[in-house]
């Protein structure tokens, strides 16, 4: 039981990085960034490959840079080349599949048997014990959240928020939307890359298909968190919602795994349904209330 809580919390923390990334792209910039799936695998592939060759810490940083590059690609396509934003993400994502295979030495998975990962560095020093994974992940994630919160109140952060919030005021506020969208997507994908990098070293493996559906799961967590936190009101709450939502999602996941309430093969379908319902809920509510009104009037 304790082990389950440990793993759930660890995964909850680490995957909240993807939710944070989607918070930046989907909520703040109002762009559906589909680079996420491929970028997550890219981070994983880079970090695991680097660890394989004995550079686990360096691998994490490389993965962040790789994520940034992927984000820049998508941003470049949509801000400079006029590619519609969703398509830009899909194009980058498709290209990344080959890049990811290349990074992994043209094999579909890499395993880190008896290799060093960042999670083992402290174990040698004899501190932490079984909670070490969680502690490391929590420190990194909370650090990212604090940095992001700080950043969103800086001039650049405010400009990025205004870009997504009101397109009409952008130029009149001396904001260059090309630049703010680029910075936003680069930061978002840096976080996604970091998430992949940490998960790869946690699981001691990288798999070319590990990213399938990550973007939908991330969105589900974001929406769960916002609902629970009654979010969208202030930035600190919204950022914390990413973490809370993820922990809740992972607990549900663990319960399903343990109790076999739903066959585990159905999980992605269920997740997709949750996301579809959650995003559709405002218009569903509206349609329903209209329906109820008309019914009442006809009686």
């Amino acid at each position: 039981m304790l082990y389950i809580i440990q793993t759930t919390l660890t995964l909850g923390f680490v995957y909240s990085l993807v939710a944070l990334a989607l918070f930046i792209s989907y909520r703040i910039l109002d762009i559906a960034d589909l680079t996420t799936d491929g970028c997550y695998v890219l981070g994983m592939a880079v970090s695991v490959t680097a660890a394989y060759y004995g550079h686990p810490i360096f691998g994490i940083f490389l993965a962040i840079i790789a994520g940034m590059a992927a984000g820049y690609c998508t941003a470049f396509l949509q801000t400079r080349m006029g590619v519609p934003s969703i398509l830009a993400g899909i194009v980058t994502n498709t290209g990344l599949y080959t890049i990811n295979l290349m990074v992994m030495g043209w094999s579909s998975n890499v395993a880190l048997l008896k290799k060093e990962t960042i999670f083992m560095l402290f174990k040698h020093l004899g501190i932490g014990g079984p909670w070490m994974d969680l502690a490391i992940v929590a420190v990194i994630v909370i650090g990212c959240m604090a940095l992001l919160r700080y950043f969103l109140s800086t001039r650049l952060g405010l400009s990025i928020r205004a870009t997504g919030d009101n397109k009409d005021m952008v130029a009149a506020s001396s904001i260059n939307p090309r630049f703010t969208i680029t910075v936003g997507l680069v930061i978002a994908n840096a976080l996604t890359g970091l998430c992949g990098a940490l998960v790869g070293q946690l699981q001691k493996s990288a798999d070319i298909n590990a990213g399938t559906g990550i973007v939908v799961i991330g969105l589900a967590c974001l929406i769960i968190g916002e609902t629970v936190m009654n979010g969208k009101k202030n930035m600190t709450r919204n950022i914390l919602a990413c973490l809370i939502g993820n922990i809740i999602y992972r607990f549900i996941y663990a319960i399903i795994l343990q109790t076999r309430l739903i066959p585990i093969d159905f999980l992605k379908l269920v997740t997709a349904l949750i996301v579809a319902l959650a995003i559709a809920s405002p218009s569903l509510k509206e349609n329903f209330s209209l329906y109820a009104r008309r019914r009442k009037e006809s009686l």
């Binding site: 405010l158 400009s159 928020r161 919030d165 005021m169 130029a171 939307p177």
Partner: protein, 266 residues
């Protein structure tokens, strides 16, 4: 201060819908001028503002601001020194950001020395509070309220403050009170007058309100068919009555009017 030399803008050039929105416009705005701009719909008033603000580049001609050629400078760069307000109160502020954050954005972006990662300080906050209390709307006690929950008049007042919190070289007001109820419009007009006069901002204001056009500022321009057809200075404004202005308005827009009639009779 601001100089337009033979500026021309043609929309949908070469098509059947071709429209000469600005026709060889020459304009010299002196420092400290507060100009009201009149003209019927489609006369080119907003097009003139768009050309000055850089929303699009003019097809021909030259635009100089403080002797600096800004003809090819991008709109967001010009916005550092040119403040602008629109008719729609929703266009000037970010609804999901607080009053303080909106002001911070305006304050930080226009400051000359602020870096990308600069934030507002406690001192700046006090400054915002002081500026907000000047609006007399009680907004100074609601600094952490989301702007989306404010009324149109409050949002427009905030936009005015944002456009002038760092004194711009030039302020463009595009019928910024037209979408408000009469009381709010009066309040915003009074505020505009006060802020512009106190800071000696050079200002151009589009209005449809003839009386207002003659009473505010020191100079009145009249546009028709993409040209400035009348330029009244302070003395000339005193001598002209609203009726006379209306007459001339009709006269100069007769051509447009006839065009409209022609289209309708077809």
């Amino acid at each position: 201060m601001l100089k337009l030399e033979k500026c021309t803008k043609i929309f949908e050039k070469g098509t059947i819908n071709e429209k000469v929105a600005l026709n060889q416009v020459d304009l010299k705005v002196n420092k400290g001028d507060f100009i009201t701009l009149l003209g019927s719909n489609g006369a080119g008033k907003s097009t003139l503002f768009n050309a000055i603000a850089g929303t699009f580049l003019v097809d021909e001609g030259k635009i100089l601001l403080d002797n600096e050629n800004i003809t090819y400078v991008a709109d967001y760069k010009r916005a550092k020194v040119i403040g602008r307000m629109f008719q729609d109160p929703l266009k000037g502020t970010a609804p999901h950001m607080t009053i303080e954050e909106n002001l911070a954005l305006a304050y930080l972006r226009a400051g000359q020395k602020t870096a990308s990662f600069s934030r507002i300080s406690k001192k700046d906050e006090e400054y915002f509070r002081e500026k907000l209390s000047m609006l007399n709307m009680g907004l100074e006690d609601r600094m952490h309220t989301l702007v989306g929950t404010l009324s149109g008049g409050q949002r427009q007042a905030l936009t005015l403050l944002m456009a002038t919190i760092v004194t711009p070289k030039l302020l463009l007001l595009d019928e910024h009170t037209a979408a408000l109820d009469p009381q709010a419009a009066e309040k915003i007009t009074a505020l505009t007058k006060r802020i512009v006069e106190e800071n000696e901002i050079t200002c151009l204001m589009i209005t449809h309100h003839m009386k207002q056009a003659l009473s505010i500022g020191n100079r009145t321009l009249f546009m028709s068919n993409g040209r400035i057809v009348m330029d009244l200075n302070e003395e000339e404004r005193k001598q002209i009555s609203v009726n006379e202005l209306l007459e001339r308005f009709k006269e100069s827009s007769k051509e447009e009017f006839d065009n409209d009639r022609m289209m309708l009779s077809e």
